[in-house]
Assembly symmetry: C2
Homo-oligomer: 230 residues x 2
């Protein structure tokens, strides 16, 4: 068996005994234990990261991944409710809100001129204190006056409905795997280049007008998507 596979196996066994979020031995400790080199140790760690069993925090170390949040994109479930049902403590943090000229894809989705202005809301969502998702929400400025004064750390859907009387009636998501971009990784205090799930959600009102365009980056080991059809 290859050396990095042995190291992988050793760490996997370690994880079996550990609680969520526990720190693993440092790369140099592992290297000494296996009379190996950092390259090989890191090969093993990266594979486990891709499998979703462990995750990195920039320059802090490697940690055991907690259970995945099971999420159904069809049900218009509230993040807080969903997380609590599954035994997590959920949290949302507003990073910033600003008005901006939206990227071209977003403008096209709104069928508007590039000169029109959007709100851009950046939020981070956590489970048990661990950041698991970065969210970038675009919506038209003129449709949501004074949005920056509202409570943006809760459910956006509820806010749209209660404060602006706008109800979401349908939704379209696109799910791909990609690498966490550098700027997004920094905001999640994670490492760039790790795999992540990128979910683009477009939500529409009853008149089929686009209400918001959301780009979500999920730490890939933190989520499992469930879909049912009848």
């Amino acid at each position: 068996m290859l050396l990095y596979q042995q190291i992988k196996q050793y760490i996997t066994a370690l994880i079996g005994n550990k609680e969520r979020d526990v720190k693993l031995p440092s790369e140099r400790q592992l290297l000494e234990k296996f009379h190996s080199s950092r390259i090989t140790v890191r090969e093993a760690l990266f594979r486990l990261e891709t499998e979703g069993l462990i995750y990195r925090q920039n320059r802090k170390g490697w940690f055991v991944s907690p259970a995945r949040l099971r999420w159904n994109p069809i049900k218009k479930a509230n993040y807080y409710q969903l997380a609590e049902e599954q035994g997590f403590i959920p949290q949302t943090r507003l990073l910033h809100i600003q008005d901006t000229v939206a990227p071209k894809v977003v403008c096209r989705a709104f069928e508007q001129d590039a000169t029109d202005v959007c709100w851009e809301v950046f939020r981070v969502r956590s489970l048990d204190g661990r950041p698991v998702m970065l969210e970038e929400i675009f919506c038209q400025k003129q449709a949501f006056p004074n949005l920056y004064q509202k409570a943006l750390e809760g459910s956006i859907t509820a806010l749209f409905s209660q404060e602006y009387n706008i109800t979401i009636s349908s939704e379209q998501s696109s799910i791909t795997v990609t690498a966490l971009p550098d700027d997004k990784a920094e905001l999640l205090s994670l490492n760039a280049g790790a795999p992540c799930l990128k979910i683009i959600r477009q939500r529409f009102c009853q008149q089929n007008k686009l209400i918001d365009y959301n780009i979500e980056y999920w730490v890939h080991g933190a989520i499992e998507i469930e879909v049912k059809s009848h």
Copy 2:
């Protein structure tokens, strides 16, 4: 800017000019061009792989990824039809079919004793000659007599319906990101350890009895999942 980022940028620009599936310069060529080392060159290549822009074939080299297949797990769409609509040439290859004692998870799903016997069908699906998905189908042997004699390279749904008069009426999928396991990677002539989408599909008849339990491994850069809800 970091060296591996420069190399990434260079390759990204290269890709812009290339057709799908074109081979990239070898690692050693890139290394010389940037007066660098293989570690650094590979860092750049791995990140592009995670982003889905390029893929590896074991010991053959690195290639430019074609466009992604857009797939909607809700619509009970036929693979061939879907692929052709999007301009791909689809293909299915039967690797083998055997009767086997199913893994415990599968037995539990069928609510049967571990001693009961299942069919296990292994297939690889390709787009334009590139393997993109490995599929492992479990179904109960007594429900599908002589399955091994049937045409197993087409739609299983159609086969169930035409040959056994069994119709799928609902379906439940679970989607996660993980690493391609070694044995699966070999069957796809790809490299182990690359990210992949793992989709577990359970399909039920009108009486809500489980008909088949499918485990699919998708080359992550080859697929984009689309979900709509109303």
